[in-house]
């Protein structure tokens, strides 16, 4: 489990192209497309929903660009981040779920929301060696335990 981080939902409800251009200008990189991530050392944007980005980091720059076209809402209190690291993380995510985690289908940099052992999770393939799972805080311990139990199966 990772330490708590400031997380926000960024939703754009109108003029998406114009907002995207303003944000790109402010951040220095483009908003990621659906199921992809983008970011730099200070801020990471993960796209899980058509109109919503999960933003990790300081959102002040974005807030200034939104106007009446969107809003930021803090959500970090309800999410626990877990890092699944090592060569078998793709295999581990196949336990109790049904999402294709192969490198071809879910390359480094990709994001996806899916269900693992009845828990809705959001995944971010941080690199080929690690994946961050964003888990509802209420289920975090249970899912951690589930993954822990499955570890001996990996590579077996």
């Amino acid at each position: 489990m990772l330490p708590a981080a400031p997380l926000h939902a960024l939703e754009i409800w109108s003029n998406p192209q114009a907002v995207a251009t303003r944000i790109e200008k402010a951040l220095g990189f483009a908003l990621p497309v659906m199921n992809r991530s983008a970011g730099n050392d200070a801020i990471t944007l993960l796209r899980y929903e058509p109109t919503v980005w999960l933003v990790e980091g300081d959102v002040a720059v974005i807030a200034d660009t939104l106007g009446d076209d969107g809003a930021l809402t803090a959500i970090g209190g309800g999410i626990v981040r877990m890092r699944l690291a090592g060569p078998h993380w793709r295999d581990l995510l196949l336990e109790g779920g049904f999402f294709d985690t192969s490198a071809a289908a879910f390359p480094a940099g990709a994001t996806a929301a899916t269900v693992i052992d009845h828990v809705g999770v959001r995944l971010w393939a941080e690199s080929d060696d690690a994946c961050i799972a964003y888990v509802p805080a209420s289920y975090a311990l249970s899912l951690h335990h589930f993954w822990d139990e499955a570890l001996p199966l990996l590579g077996a």
Binding site: N35, E49, F98, A113, T114, V115, G120
Partner: protein, 87 residues
């Protein structure tokens, strides 16, 4: 278990989706009682294709219309609904 091609996420397992209702049972909040109750309480329920509203509830949370066959379970078409979104 169906494979539903989410307009935003591509092919995903049905377990990530929920069925809501058919498109002809959408109740117009501004409509009169008779129209509302007709929409709410009558269905064609065909042994064939129908247009159904589904949601990728445990994925991208977006809504869509599936044209789905009630016997073969073939999904003929999927169309996104909801606010305008970037690609």
């Amino acid at each position: 278990m169906y494979q539903i091609t989410c307009p935003h996420c591509g092919p995903r397992a049905q377990t990530e989706f929920t069925y809501e209702r058919t498109t002809d049972s959408v109740v117009d909040p501004a409509g009169d009682t008779h129209a509302a109750m007709q929409a709410l309480y009558t269905r064609a329920n065909p042994m064939g294709l129908d247009d159904e509203i589904w949601r990728h509830t445990y994925g991208c949370r977006a809504w869509m219309v599936l044209t789905r066959h009630r016997v073969t379970h073939e999904i003929r078409a999927v169309k996104a609904i909801g606010p305008e979104a970037l690609p």
